[in-house]
Point group: C2
Chain length 421, copies 2
């Protein structure tokens, strides 16, 4: 029996296999038939931020936006969309629901799944919330959760329900209405509020807790949340590395600490600069402000190497379910840092190519010819995800879904052009 | 009405007042009578470790132990006794219950209240526990909690139920049977086990959680514990300062973070060296091993100054209920550090005198003459605690208890020698 296989044999826990039997509509095996099998989608979430496509999706945008979107969708199947309250609803009662819905549809039509980020956070808050009494802030926060979850149900069903709860009640880097609420209620009641409002509005939503504080504090908080009976669907771990790549060993040791709760881990915010590193003494990354932070050839080579190492090590860990990079382009990147995979001029960096060589190369099954045996069978092995089989240029395509560490038997009924009946 | 008052007027929240009316056994006011009022005990817990008196209390000890005990009881009303499992029960089934009970009685007879430390910890573990299956370790741990709580009930009713739970499941500085148990159960179930076993055995016990990790991790853990409905009576905060005094501002900011849970705060482990400071780069204090760490004249002057500042700032915070210093003498001190208040040769350091000037000086009412008014009354103001009134050398003494921020009316019946009936 012939085998169609992606190049990768590792990590084996990411791979699925199937014995595919093709029959014609009358049930007769399609014996000794040349077909083509191709991967169409990764089950693993390879994500990035979708912030750059809001203008384009809403009829605006600038030159190069469409090309950027093509580079994006060629590599990524997952996008984080911005629901920062202060930007989403700068005037009370006037949320940009339509703009975000257009963006969500634009990406969904291109095969990109979506996460909304975040429903509760103390930063990027609307000015109009400041100064209101705490019970009013809480009521508005609860309503805002329900509104976004309801308005986007079916379009966005994954959400960072709450962001950075560890520091939330003791945050001192900007006046806001949420920190006093978190201080008054406590962290766990804040988390309960976020998850319970979201869950009540959309029981099918996948809800994350997300944090940059990866110390024991986050472990302790998660343990408290689980003990309190709050159902969290995945743990979000931010790993912005403007101050340098942490290395595989440190990264995997950190992941191991959070893996023991048995929940999927989403590496929600990854960044690696392709220029000079931010000085190590900066504690809050937001405090580093410089006029220009250029991408350099040496930096781009380093970023490409680190991206490949980082993605390899994360994909190697069985509990990691997604990796979301934090920037497709340097144009407008967070902190002005050259963390993008594409330069401000629209050209892909070596880092883009390095990721492509993994996600759409080593870990991917391109269109591959395979001949069925006398019983109409062939074997398929590849990364968990969606595949399709076609025979001849115009025949309908049939879909196969491979799951991690499973060996399926798949029967497909196909019409093959020119085949004898 | 005459006033008998301690010198301190601050911190006012520590002071209590009473109008004391003295009557003779027939109910007639003891008008215009000279009496003496004296403080006999602080309500605030001024503690230290009682580790040094185990030998003495058990019929052994060396020269100077009795003098050391006298220096101790002159200053401290509170002692922490060591129940480190590995030392308390080095052979399975042979706990040193008698030795510790003798020590507890020795100190109680001298007016010192007691705390047992700790019931659950991952360090100083018995060798015989290693290698047992987890469920057996848990069973033995539960039995050990119940045994110590029961054996010492009435003698020791305050316990560090669990020590250093933040690091417990990820502790890497020594093989032990408790870390794997904590990793398997989680931190909060470990804490629940400690508190619920102890509470079930002695419902009147005062039970603490205690930690050296004063970061957000401890906050998050406490919030999880409270959300889980585990009743903790006080929060223990360790402040070993071998690497230098943190200063009032840092200390009070830290205390404020833990004060918001509304629980009494016990500063359970305080140390300040009277020699050179431990280098700042040492992370686990236990890793610093040197042949000799001498107490120096400059170090002793610095320690005395810092002790006074530290105690003043802690006593100034309304939610701090006790301060336990971590060493009476340099002889046998933890890490060989000169943290004692008494030198290895038995002579008090300036730090001892500095604390004495506060605890038994400024914050204390020594034997003070006061004359009652025509209605047999005088006013008393002082630190919360126990006071006694006597009239003449051989008359019985009557007790008054002052509570913080309260103004009592106290009636005492006294016989006064030589007074006309």
């Amino acid at each position: 029996m012939q085998l169609a296989s992606c190049r990768a044999t590792q990590p084996s826990h990411r791979l699925g296999e199937a014995v595919v039997t093709l029959t014609d509509p009358s049930g007769r095996p399609l014996a000794d038939t040349d077909v083509t099998v191709s991967q169409t989608r990764h089950a693993f979430g390879f994500g990035n931020i979708g912030f750059d496509f809001i203008d384009l999706a809403n009829g605006g945008g600038t030159e190069g936006d469409l090309e950027l979107a093509e580079l994006y969708t060629e590599l990524f199947n997952w996008a984080t969309l911005p629901f920062y309250w202060g930007r989403f609803e700068p005037l009370e009662g006037e949320p940009d629901t339509e703009g975000l819905a257009n963006t969500a549809r634009f990406l969904r039509e291109r095969g990109v799944s979506l996460k909304g980020h975040p429903l509760v956070w103390h930063t990027v808050q609307p000015d109009w919330l400041l100064g209101k009494p705490l019970d009013e802030v809480e009521r508005l926060q609860r309503e805002r959760i329900r509104r976004e979850i309801a308005d986007f149900a079916g379009l966005i069903d994954t959400w960072d329900a709450i962001n950075e709860a560890v520091i939330m009640p003791v945050f001192e880097n900007g006046d806001n209405a949420i920190t006093p609420l978190a201080r008054a209620k406590g962290r766990i009641p804040m988390i309960r509020m976020a998850f319970e409002e979201a869950r009540a509005t959309n029981p099918n939503a996948t809800l994350l807790i997300n944090d940059f504080d990866l110390s024991s504090a986050y472990e302790c908080l998660i343990e408290g949340v689980l003990e309190a009976g709050i159902q969290i669907d995945a743990i979000g771990l931010q790993t912005h590395m403007h101050q340098g790549y942490w290395g595989e060993e440190t990264m995997l040791a950190m992941i191991d600490r959070f893996a023991r709760y048995g929940l999927p881990l989403h590496l929600t915010e990854n960044s690696l600069v392709s220029g000079h590193l931010m000085p190590a003494e900066i504690v809050d990354l937001n405090d580093y402000r410089i006029a220009s932070w250029p991408s350099t050839p040496e930096g781009e080579a380093r970023q490409a190497d680190e991206l490949a190492r980082h993605y390899r090590s994360l994909v190697s860990h069985p509990q990691v379910a997604s990796i979301t990079y934090w920037g497709i382009t340097d144009a407008g990147a967070w902190l002005g840092a050259p963390i993008g995979l594409v330069r401000a001029d629209g050209s892909p960096k070596p880092g883009y190519d390095a990721l492509h060589a993994l996600i759409k190369g080593e870990w991917w099954l391109p269109a591959t010819p395979v001949r069925t045996d006398a019983d109409g069978r062939f074997r398929l092995r590849g990364f968990a995800g969606d595949y399709e089989v076609s025979a001849g240029g115009t025949s309908p395509r049939s879909a196969i879904c491979l799951s991690q560490q499973q060996n399926h038997s798949v029967h497909l009924t196909m019409e093959v052009e020119g085949q004898a009946r």
